[in-house]
Amino acid sequence: MTEHIIDIKHLSKSFSGKKVLEDINLYVRRGEFVTLLGPSGCGKTTMLRMIAGFLDPDEGEITLEGAPLVGVPPHKRPLNTVFQRYALFPHLDVYDNIAFGLKLAKVPSEEIDKRVRKVLKLVSMSDYEDRDVDTLSGGQQQRIAIARAIVNRPKVLLLDEPLAALDLKMRKDMQIELKEMHRKLGITFIYVTHDQEEALTLSDTVVVMNEGRIQQIGTPMDIYNEPVNAFVADFIGESNILKGRMMRDRRVAFIKHEFDCVDEGFGEDVPVDVVVRPEDIYFTTDPAKCQFKAKVNSCTFKGVHYEMFVDTDTGYELMIQDYDPYPVGSEVMLYIDPDDIQVMKKERRANVYEGEVTGDGKVEFLGAEFECNTEGFASGDKVRVTIRFEKVDLLDHEDEAVTTGHVEFILYMGNHYHLTIRTKSGEKIWVDTNDIWDKNDFVGINILPEDIRLEKLEEDGQKV
């Protein structure tokens, strides 16, 4: 393998007390096309800005070819950035925009001329050198922004959602051109996007991020075929994410059926999450092959394939993509290949918090006071509080709610929704529910006293 050009170690960053990056470790190989992928607010842009030098990390180090970058001001870093909204200088024409860096570096004017022309040719914008930048279309401005960066021959090119402002057609064309440019130039690209398709199309390596942490690093194929957790599975492509139980090695149960799979080493009778891509559920007319039956609920033509929702005989809803449509209402027989079942370790089984008993029948956690059975506990006792996901009640108003929060993330699990709620205290609570909520919905949170389980903790936070 080729050498590392950028090494990032234990990188952390907080903005006014809120962690936006937490202990990031990453290396980038020379000449590689690396994409930082994640939803908005996941920390990917913060990370890019720290590499570029616009932000300093709170902790951790970034090195370029072994030399530390932290503390080096941006104008002294041999890196260049392509900004999201181009950031072309409005008072300069195309030529002067591109020549800006070279002029500052006191490159002789004949050479500037040569290099500007060459790079204009590379981005197919020859003959545009005298144009004012505000007379260019979005796509053309994007090309000039790229030209302005690569003309300086940076060691690494940083691209911050460079195609986000373009329309779909333009975006597809630019993707191909970017890939081509990367191949021709041989420069290392670090690319930030929230568009999973873009990431899969362009990159050698995809870094999936969420909430300031790296979720998975891998090739586009790895990420798509073997997501390590429900977040990655949900974020990349379409998927059916389901609760399951590992019966033993190579045997998993979900949607109340048992299937053969290829995963091992989870142990016996262990709860897991299961991911099945919609294109990996097959229709069959052979009763011998049939693993379960279902009824077609809806069928929509999507261009190349049909997207169907089916209700299984055991009451789960699954998404299936197939080249052939099946009429709505028809009974179908289905099977899944063992290869196509992706089993993932369960990240959590219940909500667990540290709390304190504040009085008779009262316990404080999530920044609020809940009623519960405190028999056997004294006021002031530190306790571990456990609440099962399905025992959290969500209300659409604040009245009578113990605390409130916002829906942050929604996962459909075949027969219920698994919600991540950010409470007003800034903590998270996970909820299983059959009610339909939207992202960012305001919710009131209630928990019945009998659903709050307490265990006593020692002073140092250990369970007794």
Partner: protein, 266 residues
């Protein structure tokens, strides 16, 4: 159609009323008589005496004109620099600090001149600063800078926030990025702020009146005020006003014709 005729007549009527006094001054600048409204035949003698200093009061008038221009120039230059730097700072501020400074910035604009004048007068008295050029310039900077801030701030809001970073990214030091990118991008706001300041300063009377002290410093406005209170207007004021008006008329019309032609081409 009827609506259009009515509109035209109305506009014409108001314009006639607006310009009557100005035309009145201009017409009577071409006669020798000292008071307005007294026509004694066509003559350029007032113009002659304005430029040659023939009449007793005209040297005082010329120095008042010089003072007015000098004060306006210095005050608006200072206001432009102070206001631009401040606008960049305010743009980068957040929350309460930003609100507080914007509130303070609005006060000189809402305050009538007399309040600004009296309050600054009290300040200079309180601090035992002897009043003269310096205090007048400081006072003018006080009421001009808010307009610069308000002219530059929108340019910052419209500006792509990344362009300063883009300059750093391309190898510019913070100083170079400021000079080569920020200043050129903000210059339209700075220029309109400067022009606003300059005209406000030229036209000011009340603030100058209270902050000029007793050293006999006169600007055009205070000169006219003193003159009028004495009863006899210096006759050369008429040609002076006429010349000033014609200069402004030509400049503004030229600018606007150019602008409308430019936008027609686009």
């Amino acid at each position: 159609m009827v609506k259009k005729v009515f509109a035209r007549i109305y506009i014409a009527l108001i314009l006639v009323i607006l310009y009557a006094p100005i035309v009145f001054i201009a017409v009577f600048s071409f006669t020798e008589a000292k008071s307005l409204g007294n026509w004694t035949g066509f003559s350029l003698s007032l113009y002659k005496s304005l430029f040659t200093g023939g009449m007793q009061n005209s040297s005082a008038l010329i120095s008042a004109v010089n003072n007015t221009l000098l004060i306006a120039l210095i005050a608006s230059l200072i206001a432009t620099i102070l206001g631009t730097v401040a606008a960049i700072g305010i743009f980068n501020l957040k929350g309460r600090k930003k609100q507080a400074i914007q509130l303070l910035n609005n006060i000189p604009m809402i305050n009538p001149d007399i309040i600004t004048g009296v309050s600054l007068f009290l300040l200079f008295v309180f601090l035992h600063i002897s009043q003269g050029y310096l205090t007048v310039i400081l006072a003018h900077v006080t009421f001009c800078t808010p307009y610069v801030v308000l002219s530059v701030l929108p340019k910052l809001t419209q500006m792509n926030p990344n362009i300063y970073e883009a300059a750093l990214d391309l190898g510019a030091t913070p100083g170079q990025a400021f000079r080569k990118v920020l200043v050129p991008v903000l210059s339209p706001g700075m220029i309109s702020g400067f022009i606003l300041s300059f005209t406000m300063s030229l036209d000011d009377f009340a603030v100058t009146f209270f902050t000029r002290g007793t050293i006999g410093l006169d600007t055009l406005s205070t000169f006219i005020y003193a003159d009028a209170r004495k009863g006899g207007l210096t006759p050369e004021l008429k040609p002076l006003m006429t010349i000033i008006f014609i200069i402004i008329l030509v400049v503004l019309l030229a600018l606007n014709l150019k602008k409308s032609k430019h936008s027609d081409e686009k």
